[in-house]
């Protein structure tokens, strides 16, 4: 089965090609089913490979599947080849698994959209790119997937392109990602300069040959890439805006898969990170800062998806905190569980939006548990999971990370802990606003002044699906294609923790599974300490829950939504002021210089010639005696020269 690993990306690719060619003819919903089937098949193959790997010797769980030579130039030889090892297969499993679920969900969610087939074209292409990213056996092929998912993200965010905000958001995502990619590229160049190859197997086992400086540089540059893709400070700004895309996109790309690519990359290059403790510290600090920073913002957002977006950023910060602390397994663990519950919540949110006819403002929701029971129940599970309530999946992974952080530095641990409290708080706020309280969607015609600013909330009434929110019928539960994935994900969110329970080495399945790739995990706290820390974490979560629960019995608590938080710490205007505007000014200046100086010089020469001609022309007076004078003058000059030469 391992030899057939190339089938994993091949299925979504086939889907993509088929949909490009025949998508419009297949139409709604056949196109969606085709895409779903392809992703599903891909998942099955992945599972098969996974089983194969399981059956192999621990250390032998490593294979390379060559497909063809991509870029062979001189000493650089880049193959299209897949690296099959526990890490990549873990990633592939949840990419295809979650991906398949979200495809399924989309079949229902996107129903009725004018560009239904196109959506699945993009979606399949995305899955393909993502699989290339995780399965690639070299940096460059990963980069292909890396950029590919970025491009798909761009296409999907601006899917409803007639909305300026969506179009801008897509562009912003791509450009911000590009900044990160710049780092990735330079890192690749450094790696090539150092190793003469770009394959993981040619680089990582030899990582110790690097000097510390080079290793740090590579690590930080890769982290720049990861920060772009995984929305870390300071490149996170695109992710909240990315919520302009259809909700399944948010779930798939901006919660579960693409944004975790950065984490994957960091874990993948762990051997290099190990050589660069400074870089590790920076990563951990950035992760922690991002986690806290995003969590604070999430506390004061009203857009249901934006809350989740900031939450995602925050959770990704956790993962980087883990990476920076050397707790790679924890990072992967959290990545997986996060994929489950965040996808679940996004899909739930999508279900809510769908049920409310594209209403996204939580202030205009409420009491939905009555109308959308399945959504409600599954969302509640997600809520408990992310809040870190045991025994839901999120608790276990978050706990691992906090342990790692403690190991690195108690300050980081404390930041993580406080973030956990905030997380519990804002998620509770969301649950309260959406599912409890009064039904507020009836008063929607008069939006509160707080959300009047379009910069603040993107919950303006829009009609992506062709039926506007103005016709406020009662909310309704979503069709089965939509709630089945919810249920599946809910189950996973409950039990996801079992893959890596910290009770003993035997229950740490993920740890052992990833050992061939990551080596022995370094963290071995004595159990007492471990338990104390876990209890503190649980306490923090519960406190957060409690505050949220009681504070948000009513929806109108402006005092709990301070302006700086609502405005996301004014980062967007800040960037606008310090980057975009000077950039624009620089471009304007360049353009001016081009027209007036560079081209001006050229035209100046032309003018000079013409002017010179005009002046010379005045010598051509038409008076024959003047001409004779010219001849005479020439003669005199010539004679003068020859007089000087004579002798």
């Amino acid at each position: 089965m391992i030899d057939a690993a190339w089938l994993i990306p091949a299925f979504p690719l086939t889907g993509f090609v088929l949909l490009v060619l025949f998508g419009r003819r297949l139409g709604d919903p056949a196109a969606g089913w085709l895409a779903t089937a392809m992703t599903g098949l891909s998942f099955l193959v992945t599972a098969g490979v996974f089983v194969d790997l399981l059956s192999m010797e621990h250390a032998a769980r490593h294979a390379t599947v060559d497909v063809f030579s991509w870029i062979p130039v001189g000493g650089l030889s880049v193959e299209v080849a897949f690296l099959i090892d526990p890490l990549s297969i873990t990633m592939a499993l949840f990419v295809t698994g979650v991906g398949a679920l979200i495809h399924l969900y989309s079949v229902g969610y996107m129903h009725g959209d004018g560009r239904y087939p196109t959506f699945f074209v993009y979606l399949n292409l995305f899955v393909f790119s993502m699989l290339m990213l995780v399965l690639a056996d070299n940096f460059l092929l990963s980069f292909l997937g890396w950029e590919g998912v970025g491009a798909c993200s761009y296409l999907l965010i601006s899917f409803w392109f007639t909305r300026e905000t969506a179009a801008s958001a897509g562009k912003k995502a791509f450009v911000t990602n590009r900044i990160g990619d710049f780092g990735f590229m330079i890192a690749m160049f450094l790696i090539f300069s150092a190793f003469g190859t770009l394959t993981y197997s040619g680089v990582l086992p030899h990582a110790e040959e690097l000097t510390k400086g080079t290793a740090t540089a590579i690590a930080l540059l890769l982290f720049l890439g990861a920060a772009g893709k995984s929305a870390q400070l300071p490149l996170y700004v695109w992710l909240p805006d990315a919520m302009e895309g259809p909700t399944p996109v948010s779930a798939l790309i901006h919660a579960a898969t693409m944004v975790t690519a950065g984490v994957y990359l960091m874990v993948r290059v762990a051997p290099i990170l190990e050589l660069a403790p400074t870089a590790m510290t920076i990563i951990a600090c950035v992760g922690a800062a991002t986690a806290l920073f995003a969590a604070t913002i999430a506390c004061a957002q009203n857009d249901i998806k934006r809350v989740l977006a900031y939450s995602t950023i925050s959770q990704l910060g956790y993962m980087f905190l883990a990476v920076g602390s050397g707790a790679y397994v924890a990072a992967i663990f959290h990545m997986v569980t996060h994929a489950f519950f965040k996808a679940l919540m996004f899909l739930g949110a999508g279900s809510v939006i769908h049920g409310l006819h594209d209403e996204q403002d939580m202030k205009r929701m409420g009491n939905l548990r009555k109308y959308m029971p399945i959504t409600w129940v599954t969302f509640m599970i997600g809520w408990l999971a992310i809040a870190g309530v045991p025994p839901f999946a999120g608790f276990w992974s978050k706990d691992e990370i906090l342990l790692g952080a403690w190991n690195k530095s108690p300050i980081l641990w404390f930041v993580g802990l406080f973030t956990a409290l905030l997380t519990a708080y804002y998620m509770t706020r969301q649950v309260r606003l959406v599912f409890y309280g009064d039904d507020r969607w009836q008063q929607a015609e008069h939006p509160a002044p707080a959300v009047a600013d379009p910069e603040l909330s993107h919950a303006e009434p829009v009609a992506p699906n062709g039926h506007g929110p103005s016709e406020h019928a009662d909310p309704h539960e979503s069709p089965p294609t939509m709630w089945i994935p919810l249920v599946v994900l809910a189950v996973l969110s409950v039990v996801g923790g079992v893959i890596n329970l910290p009770f003993s080495h035997d229950t740490e399945h993920l740890l052992r599974w990833l050992e061939p790739v990551l080596g022995e995990e370094a963290i071995h706290l004595f159990d007492g300490n471990k338990i104390v820390l876990a209890l503190i974490a649980i306490a923090a979560s519960l406190i957060g829950l409690a505050i949220g629960w009681f504070a948000w019995r009513t929806a109108d608590r402006p005092e709990l939504e301070p302006e700086p938080l609502r405005r996301a710490w004014y980062i967007d205007p800040l960037y606008q002021a310090i980057i975009a505007r000077p950039g624009q000014a620089l471009a304007d200046l360049s353009s001016w210089v081009d027209r007036n100086v560079v081209d001006g010089a050229v035209n100046g020469i032309a003018v000079a010639f013409r002017e010179g001609g005009g002046q010379l022309r005045r010598l051509q007076t038409g008076y024959v005696r003047n001409y004779a004078l010219g001849v005479a003058a020439g003669t005199v000059a010539l004679l003068a020269w020859f007089y000087m030469r004579a002798g």
Partner: protein, 502 residues
């Protein structure tokens, strides 16, 4: 008169006349005889013939002259160069080359003049007579091995051209051109002659071979007189070839003279002037290179720059072409400045290519000029391509060739002289010449732009007849320009073997 006087003194010893090798003079004599025949027909016949007959005879004369020149070429290649008629003329590839060139100019000029004379209702025979005689002077100049023969050739050429320039008596401009050309021509002739006198004083002879021998065998303690004479001769010849600052007559005369005459003048007179310049300076004064090359360098640069720059601002096509002819002279001077065999050959090639380009160009100008020879402004060419695509295309080719676009003779011509300059390490001059070509492209293209643009208001109806004779001239010039552009080897060979006597 002198013969009578000589007889009257009754000297015993008979004069031993030198051998006159007539075959060496046949091309020029043919032209003179042709001219006399035309005169006889015109004056003796009762009937008045149209321009066709005279033009036809002129063309035939030119072709015969061409043929005899070819014959001489054969003989020179077989027997080697020599001098003839008491060393007064040189029989070498160089002189034969110019005989061919000038004969071509005569043929093309006559073809062009035929329809012009009819259109403008000018008296026919004398124009052709003068053209033939003038051409014979040009040939004499090219062959001259004696400064006085050179001077006489120059005067034969020039005086006929003075008359030709004023031939269109109804045009004020024509008379003005004649007047200016004459006054300045006489002035420069006098200077040239003074130069000859000084050279004579410095070397004791006017024979070029003897001058060279003298300079080679004597070391002058002070060559001031020689250099002064050289300088003054350079002025005279520079005037003829329109080198800056002796160029001022050119635009006025070219513009004022009847257009076919302008074409002939630009081709033949310039070529003859350069023939003299090359022969005198390269052959006779070759040993004084160090003194005159810097001067020619400066003249070349000035000529290139002033010609090009002034052409940019012209709105009259004839005038523009006049300035362009000045800049072309600059290129030939580049060849002269190189002062080596390839420089001479390059200059020759350039002049031959230019002959066809410029007569072709003036052929178009003649046609577009219309009755009265007055429509020469840029606006008169507006939309020519839509009215007469053939003529416009031909003009385009000629202009492109003058600009030095590849696959035309003009490109190779420029290439040749510039390569000679580079060969002599005159990089600065080569660069100026190339940049001059770029500037020149500007004003040639401007005409092309106009031709391919929309027609001017109310001008759409104006017919531009294309008489057969002019069409033939255009065709020949076009064919030469393009064929030589693609397959230049024979002509380059011709130029390379058109070596000087010494």
């Amino acid at each position: 008169m002198t013969a009578v006087l000589a007889q009257a003194t009754g000297v015993d010893a008979p004069i031993r006349f030198p051998a006159v090798e007539y075959w060496t003079l046949v091309p020029a004599i043919t032209l003179v005889v042709g001219a006399l025949v035309l005169l006889l027909i015109a004056s003796l016949s009762r009937r008045t013939y149209g321009a066709g007959l005279y033009a036809g005879l002129t063309v035939v004369t030119g072709l015969v002259s061409l043929g005899t020149a070819a014959n001489i070429w054969q003989r020179v290649s077989d027997e080697g160069p020599s001098t003839a008629v008491a060393k007064a003329i040189a029989v070498d590839g160089f002189s034969t080359f110019f005989a061919v060139l000038i004969a071509c100019a005569v043929v093309l000029g006559a073809l062009l003049a035929e329809s012009y004379v009819r259109r403008e209702q000018l008296p026919a025979p004398e124009l052709f007579v003068l053209m033939l005689l003038s051409a014979s002077g040009g040939m004499l100049m090219a062959a001259a091995n004696d400064l006085i023969v050179l001077f006489l050739g120059l005067e034969i050429l020039s005086i006929a051209l003075y008359v030709l320039a004023g031939y269109h008596g109804r045009r004020e401009a024509s008379s003005e051109a004649a007047m200016k050309y004459f006054l300045l021509g006489a002035f420069s002739s006098a200077i040239f002659l003074y130069g000859i006198a000084l050279v004579y004083g410095a070397t004791g002879t006017t024979n070029l071979g003897e001058i060279a021998t003298f300079l080679a065998t004597n070391v002058l303690s002070n060559n001031g007189i020689l250099l002064g004479g050289m300088g003054l001769m350079l002025v005279g010849l520079g005037f003829k070839v329109a080198a800056v600052p002796f160029h001022a007559w050119t635009p006025d005369v070219y513009q004022g003279a009847p257009t076919p005459v302008t074409g002939f003048m630009a081709a033949a007179a310039k070529a003859a002037g350069f023939a003299g310049l090359l022969r005198v300076f390269f052959s006779a004064f070759g040993s004084e290179q160090l003194d005159w090359r810097p001067v020619v360098f400066v003249l070349a640069v000035l000529t290139l720059v002033v010609g090009s720059v002034l052409a940019i601002v012209q709105t009259d096509i004839k005038r523009m072409l006049a300035y362009s002819s000045i800049s072309h002279a600059g290129y030939v001077l580049v060849g002269l400045q190189a002062a080596n065999d390839s420089g001479v050959a390059g200059s020759l090639f350039y002049l031959l290519a230019y002959t066809f380009m410029v007569i072709g160009s003036f052929a178009v100008v003649t046609l577009v000029g219309g009755r009265g020879d007055s429509r020469h402004s840029l606006d008169d060419y507006r939309g020519l391509a839509s009215r007469r695509p053939g003529i416009a295309l031909a003009f385009t080719v000629f202009l492109m060739a003058q600009a030095g676009v590849p696959f035309t003779s003009g490109f190779l011509a420029k290439f040749y002289v510039i390569s000679a300059a580079v060969d002599r390490r005159s990089y600065a001059l080569a660069i100026v010449a190339m940049l001059g070509a770029a500037v020149a492209a500007f004003f040639y293209l401007r005409v092309i732009v106009v031709m391919y643009g929309p027609p001017a208001e109310g001008d759409e109806q104006r017919g531009i007849p294309l008489p057969r004779s002019a069409a033939v001239a255009l065709g020949i010039a076009l064919a030469f320009t393009l064929v030589v552009g693609v397959l230049p080897a024979p002509v380059i060979d011709f130029a390379r073997h058109a070596t000087l006597l010494f």
